[in-house]
Symmetry: C2
Subunit: 406 residues, 2 copies
């Protein structure tokens, strides 16, 4: 019998009525003749409430105890969902992360999965049970409770699907799939039927919050197709899977826009070996995340070094950069948080030259200036002015023939 893993997020199980609706959906899948494992997040705002409780006790909660606390959120939702399934006449058993033997390292609040002992799940599946698993949580080899950090329930779901060789892992969420662009500012964005793991990973790293990178990496490593679809309707979602031949015909799969970055430039840096290393070593030691880096052509032995960093880290990054300016004898630091990073993603780029040129042309036609450029094998990103960003996204979306028809 084929095994389906389903994952329901916090909104999908936010109230007793929604839990009952989810139970009905699970029974439909079971009655189609599948074995079903369901991975569930904490109900609605439960996790936030638990965090606020901890903050009433102490400003700096101990991470091990935080995991002990937060893991109760999923334990509540799995037990309620199992009760709802019993009420529909099903055999169902809820299991915590520890009970499914999901082993992690001991980095509390952002633990990494290292293995799983699925004996109990397999035994219960053989007895015809629907298994309800607490997402987001695991345990160390010492039986300490751990949590997996942001997007942890997705990671749990894909990990369980991978290890048990599920036919697919269906992520039920509050959007109905992956789009060619964000429909909020690209009204002609289309829902994708398929996207490759690699493309989805690029999207995730560009701020598409539908799924975490770690869960996609798991799916890619074990070759488990991941379906993203809505828990509120019956529309087909998007399948994240291996690159197929057909997919290569599509040069660009989607357009992404990230407005949460800022640009810093250190001006008049002495252009000599080792200077870049000194700058970025200091920034790294201070824990500042750097995304794009550009060094201008040298003019009279001096150059400008620009980089982007999340807006949230801008203040600290400027302060560190000003220290660097003194240390290396540069002239000054300038920053700009009114920028946006526009990216096109497509596995087909590998076999189609000229994608960058097409993108730059689309921007030129709109008279939009490009401040920085980076590329990967399947992605091209340009930093542009934030005020041009949405117009630029629509132009590029049209240029690569991604617009919805009709």
């Amino acid at each position: 019998m084929s095994l389906i893993v389903q994952k329901y997020g916090g909104t999908s199980v936010g109230t007793a009525d929604r839990i009952k609706a989810v139970a009905k959906r699970i029974v439909e899948t079971k009655e189609q003749g599948h074995d079903v494992i369901v991975v569930v997040s904490a109900m609605g705002k439960t996790t936030d409430q638990l965090i606020s409780l901890a903050k009433q006790i102490t400003e700096y909660p101990n991470p091990r105890e935080m995991d002990m606390l937060l893991s109760t959120g999923e334990q509540i939702s799995i037990s309620l969902l199992a009760m709802a399934l019993h009420d529909l006449g099903q055999k169902a058993t809820s299991l915590t992360g520890a009970q499914i033997g999901l082993l992690t390292d001991n980095v509390h609040t952002k633990a990494k999965i290292v293995g799983m002992k699925p004996d109990k799940i397999i035994q219960l599946l053989e007895q015809g049970h629907i298994i309800i698993v607490a997402g987001f949580q695991g345990m160390t080899p010492d039986f300490d409770v751990t949590t997996l950090g942001r997007g942890g329930s997705d990671t749990s779901a894909v990990a369980v699907a991978s290890i048990l060789k599920a036919e697919r892992c269906v992520i039920y969420t509050d959007v109905d799939g992956i789009y060619t662009a964000d429909p909020r500012y690209v009204p002609k964005a289309r829902k994708l039927k398929m996207i490759s793991y690699g493309e989805m990973l690029e999207l995730a790293s560009l701020g598409a919050k539908v799924m975490s990178s770690r869960s996609i990496e798991f799916g890619k490593k074990y070759g488990v197709p991941i379906v993203v679809r809505s828990s509120f309707n019956d529309e087909d979602g998007t399948v994240i899977t291996e690159e197929g031949e057909r997919m290569e015909d599509v040069v660009v799969t989607g357009v992404a826009l990230d407005k949460d970055e800022a640009k810093i430039t250190i001006q008049q840096v002495s252009d000599q070996p080792g200077i870049a290393a000194r700058i970025f070593r200091v920034l790294a030691d201070e824990g500042i995340n750097i995304d794009m880096i550009v060094q201008n052509i040298s003019d009279k032995g001096l150059t400008d070094v620009s980089f982007t960093t999340p807006v949230a880290e801008l203040k600290k990054a400027i302060s560190v950069s000003e220290k660097i300016v003194k240390d290396i004898g540069a002239s000054r630091v300038v920053s700009n948080d009114k920028i946006a990073k526009l990216s096109v993603i497509g596995a087909g780029m590998r076999s189609h030259p000229g994608v960058a040129a097409d993108m730059f042309e689309a921007l030129a036609e709109e008279k939009i200036n490009i401040e920085m450029i980076t590329t990967s094998e399947i992605r091209i990103s340009c930093v542009i002015s934030e005020e041009d960003a949405e117009r630029a996204a629509r132009a590029v979306h049209t240029k690569f023939k991604l617009d919805r028809e009709g």
Copy 2:
């Protein structure tokens, strides 16, 4: 180093501020040079809220899933208390029932403890940690979560204290000890310095809700002294311990009043062998709890059989009794829920004859009629009219010289 087990109830950890206050109290004990294990209940009304959540899903929640749900209540309070202890600079680790290896049978929602694997606790104690244990919960040998039913956290605490041979188990609660009578209707009631396990067991079975019978039985079996005291002040509490010589000088330790029973009489029962067995077999098969039974002297081959049952079961008991009347050819059923059971308890009764006579005299002096009488080795109980009950309790309390002086 001597080991102290402390247990805090739901009221004591009902808010973040109370949890911080409990943490300070624990640190005081630790700093007196003791190893400390703390057993905690769920915060305030958490358990009620979880039950109400389950009732929104289904009228008849699956017991295994109910245990999965309810056990989160204690998991929340232990993690918060551990955080509060960290904040005071202490090494502290919270552990669930499963993590302390508290093995139970698999009777969900009222599981019985069958053993414990204390390796992890012992290891952490040796490393100087304060251990915070989730009360009320354990696990089956199959790693399923179980809960221990009413008074379960007390049972957890005394079980842990027993198995780890603690010096004492201190139950912090919202009363400051065990009294010679309920001070609400016996204003001269005194707090007892000591009471024996046997006497406390009688009190618990008579409706004194301070501690559950199971926890006292545990303490008695393993000889662990149990201290009952308030978590809101520093007054000495009451020690529940072995009977000492000194204790035998006290003939009566306390007076208890139970108003939650009702009396049923089946009238004009044919007085022949096997009739009583038939009556009480049927009542037992219907699951009705019977406390006292009295059969009157036979008059012309007919007798009356009276028994008491909890008021909550009265309606069902009457209906079953009416069927019995038909089956055995008795005349009719009469009932009275305006009764009370007044008891005196004292280990000293064994060596002091005349206690019953003293009690009956005290009631006679108050012109109070006795409807039924039962006795055990260390208890005498009389059923009287509910309207006389509190006056009777005061009279008996005075008769046995239990009144507070001054």
